[in-house]
Amino acid sequence: MAMRVARELQDGFYVNLGIGIPTLVANFVPEGMEVMLQSENGLLGMGSFPTEETIDADMINAGKQTVTAVAGASIFSSAESFAMIRGGHVDLTVLGAFEVDVQGNIASWMIPNKLIKGMGGAMDLVAGADNIIVTMTHASKNGDSKLLESCSLPLTGKGCIKKVLTDLAWLEIEDGAFILKERAPGVSVEEIIEKTQGKLIVPDHVPEMQFS
């Protein structure tokens, strides 16, 4: 999945990668392309994890992992960081979700009576970016689709999602439907149809994902 997301990168993009799977994207930035990672705790120009020698409690990312800064990085307050995000200055945001629906709604932060961790910066990220990729598994462990006609969980954002990448497919959201754009390697269109609850439009030809 991280490899497929990397294909959406463009040279000179400022990118905010959510916590978890999306962070791996950084490992697949194509040769000769520069992207700069924004971490919403106040770092533009996030680098790799540190070594034993360079680890520093005062240098973390939004996932609270110890990180480094690249040359040309800048560090600022949380207000400034979200000014960038809310103001639409970040070119691409990648984040996970529990559910996405055909209206572009996203639910990613709360499962009532079960999981109350808080939304962190996710609501700001989805409200501030034009260009968002949601990455998640296509269905839950017990097989329930996460691509729905209408989200059942409390929303993170309304009508803001246009691109979804799952373990099975690359989809775009348009006019109240998921458009199946690409299949993951070895995955059949039938499986995707079966595991998608929301309205799905399947073009005549659905190419397999390319990763180069």
Partner: protein
């Protein structure tokens, strides 16, 4: 304390005047840049019924988490409280009220509180549970929520270096919410790692001008790392 000398000599003095029922705004993100010793002093004082405004609530046994042990906190205003079992327990028990606030909105609420802006509009949270009870208004064809600013009776802040006048700089990403919290306290208390001479800090590098700072103290810090991640090699 004469003129602009903000230095106090003890943590007792630093938190003098903190009373039950007050609102405390704290800097820090996760365990990074948290005012460790000021939090410990609040625990020592056993002040109760506090409202704490902070992005996170520490972890079990460290940071703001220690204030939960004796139920000193009645309400938290935070964006993320995931890494704290005691927190979750008190929340589910109903012992603790939590106002979950999007991170960027929380940062802006603190800044606005310090800057005399009583309220602002943001697209963050429109159509979500965060919008409940809040005015929605359209500007230029898009919907926004009205969010009110936050001020605290106290702000507790962790800096890196400061001079006696209370001019503060922060180190790396330990900056985070600290300069915002510093503007929003009726009494702002800053603890730092190092006191430098007045005039030593370049005026253009100062993150928090002394005008926001009421009390300053030099402390020793554990600086615990929450997620130790290393690169291979």
């Amino acid at each position: 304390m004469a003129g602009f000398d903000k230095v106090v000599s003890s943590y007792e003095e630093a938190m003098a005047g903190l009373e039950d029922g007050m609102t405390v705004i704290a800097g820090g993100f996760g365990l990074c840049g948290i005012p460790e010793n000021l939090i410990s002093e609040i625990k020592k004082r056993q002040t109760k019924n506090l409202t704490i405004v902070s992005n996170n609530c520490g972890v079990d046994g460290f940071g703001l988490g220690i204030l939960l042990e004796d139920r000193q906190v009645s309400k938290m205003v935070s964006s993320y409280v995931g890494e704290n079992a005691l927190f979750e327990k008190q929340l589910l028990n109903g012992e603790l009220e939590v106002e979950l606030t999007p991170q960027g909105t929380l940062a802006e609420k603190m800044r606005a509180g310090g800057a005399g802006i009583p309220a602002f509009y943001t697209a963050t949270g429109v159509g979500t549970p965060v919008a409940e009870g809040k005015e929605v208004r359209e500007f230029d064809g898009r919907e926004y929520l009205l969010e009110e600013s936050i001020r605290g009776d106290f702000a507790i802040v962790k800096g890196w270096k400061a001079d006696r006048y209370g001019n503060v700089i922060y180190r790396h990403t330990a900056q985070n919410f600290n300069p915002l919290a510093a503007t929003a306290g009726k009494i702002t208390v800053v603890e730092v790692e190092e006191l430098v001479e007045v005039g030593e800090l370049d005026p253009a590098h100062i993150h928090t001008p002394g005008i926001y700072v009421d009390r300053l103290i030099v402390g020793q810090f554990e600086k615990r790392i929450e997620k130790r991640t290393l690169t291979e090699s």
